[in-house]
């Protein structure tokens, strides 16, 4: 009887752990529109591992480039196209073709 109880507790914990981890490992997708020469929204809060998608709704070509270290950048994004990236850390970014266009990603723990 004692062994059955132990197995039951272990199974319950395993399932709980599986579901919690499964839930945590499902990334959320966030979309930023590039329109009217702006990133909309300009500031976004996400979780580590979430996916960001930038969609160009403008007539002209844009890109998304990390501010400061410039350690990541998209290729040119033409009208109607999107680019996505998994977010690992907070970062400011801008369009290097139009440096007045700026955005910010905040990673919440």
């Amino acid at each position: 009887m004692y062994i059955v109880w132990i197995i039951g507790v272990c199974l319950t914990l395993s399932f709980r752990s599986f579901w919690v981890n499964h839930e945590n490992s499902t990334p959320t997708q966030h979309t930023v529109a590039i329109k009217g020469m702006q990133f909309v929204p300009a500031e976004i809060t996400v979780k580590k591992g979430d996916i960001m998608v930038w969609t160009n709704e403008d007539l002209v070509e844009h890109n998304v480039t990390a501010a400061g270290k410039k350690n990541w950048a998209s290729p040119p994004i033409v009208k109607g196209q999107s680019w996505k990236m998994v977010i690992k850390e907070s970062s400011g970014y801008f369009c290097s073709l139009h440096p007045v266009m700026k955005g910010k990603i905040l990673v919440q723990d």
Partner: protein, 180 residues
């Protein structure tokens, strides 16, 4: 004396761009949609031509990148406008405003060609600030109010944010070229 002449050239460059469009907006010319389309295409082509000149003459990486962006963005506007007028079966028509623009652009290009190095960069960027300001005023104060076709009006309105971003970009470079 040489410096004074150079300063006069730079001031004139800015002024020619500032005053060409408002002279028309104050005179309230009447433009048909065909003429509005021609003015819009001409203004964009002028900035592409100035960008080509900058790519020939400048060695400043930031000025070269700005010129590349101007050439690409204004070509995108021309392509969109051309596709729209084709769809609307409108034939862009030469007019007094577009002729004046071309005459001013020829004067500006001549003056820019006479400058080199940092003097060229400064004059080109100063011109871009003034030109975009004039175009923004012309689009919002003349071309949009004169346009009857809603699709053409919408296209003109949609390019204003890009014109403003170009002007702000040029102003950023203007501060850098002034501080260097």
């Amino acid at each position: 004396m040489k410096k004074l002449n150079l300063l006069k050239k730079i001031v004139l460059l800015g002024c020619s761009a500032i005053y060409c469009f408002p002279a028309f907006t104050q005179g309230n010319p009447t433009l048909s949609d065909e003429e509005v389309a021609f003015v819009a295409i001409t203004a964009n082509q002028i900035d592409i031509d100035q960008a080509r000149l900058a790519k020939e003459k400048s060695r400043n990486p930031q000025v070269l990148q700005f010129a590349e962006t101007m050439a690409k963005d204004h070509q995108a506007v021309i392509d969109q406008a051309s596709a729209l007028v084709k769809k609307l079966k409108v034939t862009p028509k030469d007019n007094a405003v577009s002729r004046q623009l071309l005459a001013d652009a020829a004067t500006t290009a001549k003056k820019l060609r006479s400058l080199n190095g940092k003097d060229f960069d400064k004059a080109y960027i100063d011109h871009e600030v003034a030109f975009h300001q004039a175009v923004i005023q012309a689009v919002t104060g003349l071309l949009v109010p004169e346009t009857e076709n809603s699709h053409l009006k919408e296209l003109l309105q949609s390019i204003v944010p890009a014109l403003k971003a170009h002007q702000q970009h040029a102003q950023m470079l203007q501060k850098q070229t002034t501080s260097n």
